[in-house]
Symmetry: C2
Subunit: 222 residues, 2 copies
DNA sequence: CCTCCCATGTTGGAAATACAACATCTTTAT
DNA sequence: ATAAAGATGTTGTATTTCCAACATGGGAGG
C-alpha cells in the first residue's frame, strides 16, 4: 500500500490523514488496489452496490446499457475522483450503470459499509477523517450539480453563459478570470450547440456585456 | 422531545431508529426544536455552516439575496426534508442563501459536527444509524439532481417530456402512472414554458407517442 | 517559412420555443 | 345551480436556437 501513497494523495478523500494512519486504515478496511486495462468493467450495472472506487490514475467511464444492448457513456471520472459512491450511499438496489476503465488505469476499491461503520478503536482518528471526507465529497458533488442546474435551466444561451461566467468570476475573486473549458466542452456542459454559443459570445462582446480573448474572460456590466 | 415523535417520524433521517434510541440520541446531541412564524430566518446567509435542519411541519424557503438587496426564492423544502445539510457536509465557508420559514413551521436543528463525530459509547446503535441515514439523504439528493439534469439537458421539449415520463413509468413499475406535478410545476421543473409544453403534449398524443388524461399518463411507444 | 490540423468564429435557412392572448374545462364557494 | 377562479389546452407570431457549411486564425511539426 505504501508504494501507492503518491496516487492516494491525489484524492480529497484522504485529506488530513497522515501516511501512517492512511496505510493502517486501508489495510484495516481491506481496501483493494486494482490495475485495470482499458475496457475492463470495474463495477457492473445491475449489481447490488456494496463498493465504491477512487480513480488513482487514468480515467473511468460511466456506461449505461439499455435493454436493446446499446451502450452510452454518461460521463467520465478522472484522477482523484470517486465513482459509485452516490449509489452505495443512497442505498439503491442496483447500479444503473457500469463503471468501465476508459484507459489503462489504477483504482482503489472500498467496501462502503466498512468505511462508514468505523472501527471499534476509539482512537482511530484516520478512520473518522475518512468518513468526514467521504461525506464532504458527496456534499460537494451535490453543490456542483446544483450549480450546473442553475446554468442549464436558464432560458436563453446568453443567460446560461452569463450565469456560468458570473460563477466563474466569483470563484476567481478577480475581475479577469480564465475558464477551464474549451468552447466545445463548455457548450456540452451548458447543453447548447457549439457554433450557436460562439455566435452568442460574439454578440455579447459586441453589446459590451463581456470581453474575452481565448479562455480569458472579463465581465464588463455587473 | 417525546411529544414530537410523530413529527420526527416524517423524516427518513430517523429510519430504523426506535423511539427510545431517538429521544436519547437527540438529547445527547442537544438537538433544538424550534417553532417559527412565517418569515423567520432560521439559518442566515453568510454565516458559517455549523448546523442543518429538518422540517417537522410546515415548509422552508431557500432565499438568496444579492448585493443590491433583491431576494429570490431558489427552492422550497417541505415536511420531512433536510435543509442546509449540503453546505455543512461540503464544508463551504458560508451559507450562500438564507433558510426562511415559508409558513408557520416547526424545525429540528442539529449540530453537524456532533452528529457525524458519533458518541464515545460503542453501543449507541441509534447514533450510527443517524449517520448512515444522513449520508443516504445526501446521496439521494444527489441522485435526484442527476436525474433532473438528464431531463433538462435534453434538446427539445418533446425529449425532455419523454425522458421525464419514462423515468416516472420506470419508477411506477406500471404501464399507467400518475405524475405528482401540475402542468405549471412540471414546466418549471423541466425548464420550459407551460403553454408550449401543453401544446407539445397534445402533439405527442396526436402522434401516438403517449396517452394521458389529466395527470394519468401512459407511454404507447417504447 | 509553409502546410496541415484543429479550435474558434460567422452566416443563412430550417426548426423549435417563447410569449401573448384567448378558449375550454375543473373545481370551489356561494 | 351558478358564478368565479384556477388549471389546462390552442393558436399565431416573434424570437431564439439548431444545423450545416464555410471562413479564419493560431499553433505544431516538417
Amino acid at each position: 500500500m505504501q508504494q501507492y501513497l503518491p496516487y492516494l494523495r491525489q484524492s480529497l478523500l484522504f485529506e488530513r490523514i497522515d501516511d501512517e494512519g492512511l496505510v493502517k486504515t486501508l489495510n484495516c478496511l481491506n481496501a483493494q488496489i486494482i490495475a485495470c486495462e482499458k475496457g475492463k468493467v470495474i463495477l457492473h450495472q445491475g449489481d447490488e452496490p456494496r463498493h465504491f472506487g477512487v480513480v488513482l490514475c487514468g480515467s473511468v467511464n460511466v456506461v449505461a446499457s439499455d435493454s436493446y444492448g446499446n451502450h452510452s457513456v454518461m460521463w467520465s471520472i478522472t484522477q482523484g475522483d470517486l465513482f459509485g459512491e452516490t449509489y452505495v450511499s443512497a442505498g439503491v438496489d442496483s447500479f444503473p450503470a457500469s463503471f468501465v476503465a476508459a484507459q489503462d488505469s489504477m483504482v482503489l476499491i472500498l467496501e462502503y459499509a466498512r468505511v462508514i461503520t468505523g472501527c471499534r478503536n476509539n482512537g482511530c482518528l484516520a478512520h473518522s477523517y475518512l468518513v468526514t471526507n467521504l461525506i464532504r465529497s458527496i456534499g460537494k458533488k451535490n453543490l456542483t450539480l446544483t450549480q450546473k442546474l442553475e446554468f442549464v435551466t436558464q432560458r436563453t444561451t446568453r443567460d446560461k453563459l452569463m450565469a456560468y461566467l458570473r460563477a466563474q468570476q466569483k470563484q476567481a475573486k478577480s475581475h479577469r478570470f480564465v475558464i477551464p473549458y474549451d468552447r466545445q466542452t463548455l457548450a456540452d456542459y451548458l447543453g447548447v450547440e457549439r457554433s450557436a454559443m460562439s455566435a452568442e459570445l460574439s454578440r455579447m462582446k459586441r453589446d459590451g456585456l463581456i470581453h474575452y480573448r481565448k479562455n480569458e474572460f472579463e465581465i464588463l456590466l455587473p
